[in-house]
């Protein structure tokens, strides 16, 4: 569906250098701190910035060679983009009808109803949650094959976030083989939605794993210094010294559960893994 190959882009001291693959029918999450390069990567994928080197393929074609018709198969949410705040939803529907040959009015109306969005109110009068829902809805309105969503849930409360994620889940159920690339800095959102996850830090991909494997096989091991010295480190990815103990990240939880009965083992969560990947050191 989408393949980003060894893309490089330099802005002053910041350098983006990454690869990423999104398979048909999969939801891929991109997670990273503010300024890690998430939005730069999204812009690169959409051909909004020129690459220094590397290539990006969408639907098996170079991304800058996509025809207008092929671009209609993309659904996009970017953080600082959208329709003029002086338009109403009714105005936007007219635009979308002319913009996308596949625009699905009945789907759009159904979701408008679901989220109780008003047709005749100017968007500038919408709440943050309403604006966010509308943006995602527009991206989903025309049966896009690839959704590229940059922080669609940023700044929303837990209920609004959940509603947007449910909208995406419904979409994936209804559309055969659609794929999603979604970024967020709220790990929980991605944990419950994505099939695989990429972690970006200072412009580089530092981690890629299936969510399923991350949740079932990764763990944080906590132990005393003596235990740490004797620890079998063959499956330890990162270690970190804490105030009164040592913490280690492993991708073989089962192994340590069976062989190191004395140490404390916590289930891996995305947040724990990111923190260890960034703060920990390799052995």
């Amino acid at each position: 569906m989408l393949e980003v190959k060894e893309v490089q882009k330099r802005y002053g001291t910041f350098e983006l250098e990454c690869s990423l693959t999104i398979l048909d029918g999969q939801i891929t999450g991109l997670i990273g701190q503010n300024g890690a390069g998430k939005s730069t990567l999204f812009k690169a994928i959409l051909d909004l910035i020129t690459l220094d080197s590397g290539s990006i393929q969408i639907f098996g074609k170079e991304h800058h060679e996509l025809s207008g018709k092929e671009k209609e198969k993309l659904g996009v949410v970017l953080s600082d983009s959208g329709f003029s705040a002086y338009l109403t939803v009714r105005d936007i529907i007219a635009i979308l009808k002319n913009m996308y040959s596949n625009f699905d009015l009945s789907y759009f109306q159904k979701q408008m109803q679901r989220f109780q969005l008003p047709y005749d109110q100017k968007i500038k009068e919408f709440s943050t949650g309403m604006k966010a829902k509308l943006k995602v809805l527009i991206a989903l309105s025309h049966h896009a094959k690839l959704l590229i969503l940059d922080e669609p849930t940023a700044g929303l409360d837990v209920i609004a976030r959940d509603e947007i994620l449910d909208l995406l889940r419904d979409y994936m159920e209804d559309e055969n083989d659609a794929s999603i690339l979604i970024s967020s800095h709220i790990a929980e959102d991605l944990e419950s939605l994505c099939d695989d996850l990429y972690m970006i830090h200072e412009g580089k991909m530092i981690f890629h794993e299936d969510t399923d494997v991350l949740l079932s096989d990764y763990a944080i091991l906590k132990m005393s210094e003596e235990q740490f010295k004797k620890l079998d480190t063959q499956y330890i990815l990162k270690a970190c010294k804490e105030a009164y103990s040592y913490a280690c990240l492993t991708n073989q939880k089962q192994y340590y559960m069976e062989n190191e009965p004395g140490i404390t083992i916590e289930k891996g969560t995305i947040d724990a893994v990111i923190t260890m990947m960034i703060r920990g050191y390799s052995l």
Partner: protein, 128 residues
């Protein structure tokens, strides 16, 4: 069908699904030919990754509990009670074997272990 996922459990989510569907089959709550939700649907409803659901379905299929018709979905396979019984016994044996090894590591004698087991059996509320 009942499925309860415990996100804070150490048991991987796919295993939780496998165990609960097996249990449903065993208790005859899930009957032969009962259609299971598609991978995407179950993933949506449980709010978990589709690959986790797929892993659970694959495991159930390889053990003969469900069958998948390409393009149509997955169904509960006809059950052989004998097979299920053997399956459970095998699992129990494995667990007990693990305990035996642990006892060995802890230098517990056969007699001590036997006494401990009988004591626990006596006090257990499982069979009351």
């Amino acid at each position: 069908m009942h499925l309860i996922i415990n996100h804070s459990s150490m048991v991987p989510i796919y295993e939780q699904i496998v165990e609960q569907i097996k249990e449903g089959i065993l208790k005859q709550e899930l009957k032969e030919n009962y259609p299971l939700p598609s991978v995407r649907t179950l993933s949506k409803e449980l709010k978990i990754s589709a690959l986790t659901v797929k892993k659970a379905y694959d495991a159930l299929e390889s053990e003969g509990f469900i069958c998948t018709v390409h393009g149509k979905g997955s169904y509960i396979a006809p059950v052989n009670p004998q097979l299920v019984w053997e399956e459970q016994r095998k699992e129990l044996e494995q667990d007990l074997e693990g305990i035996l090894q642990k006892a060995k590591r802890f230098d517990i004698t056969k007699e001590e272990l036997k006494d401990l087991f009988l004591l626990l059996l006596e006090e257990s509320s499982c069979w009351k």
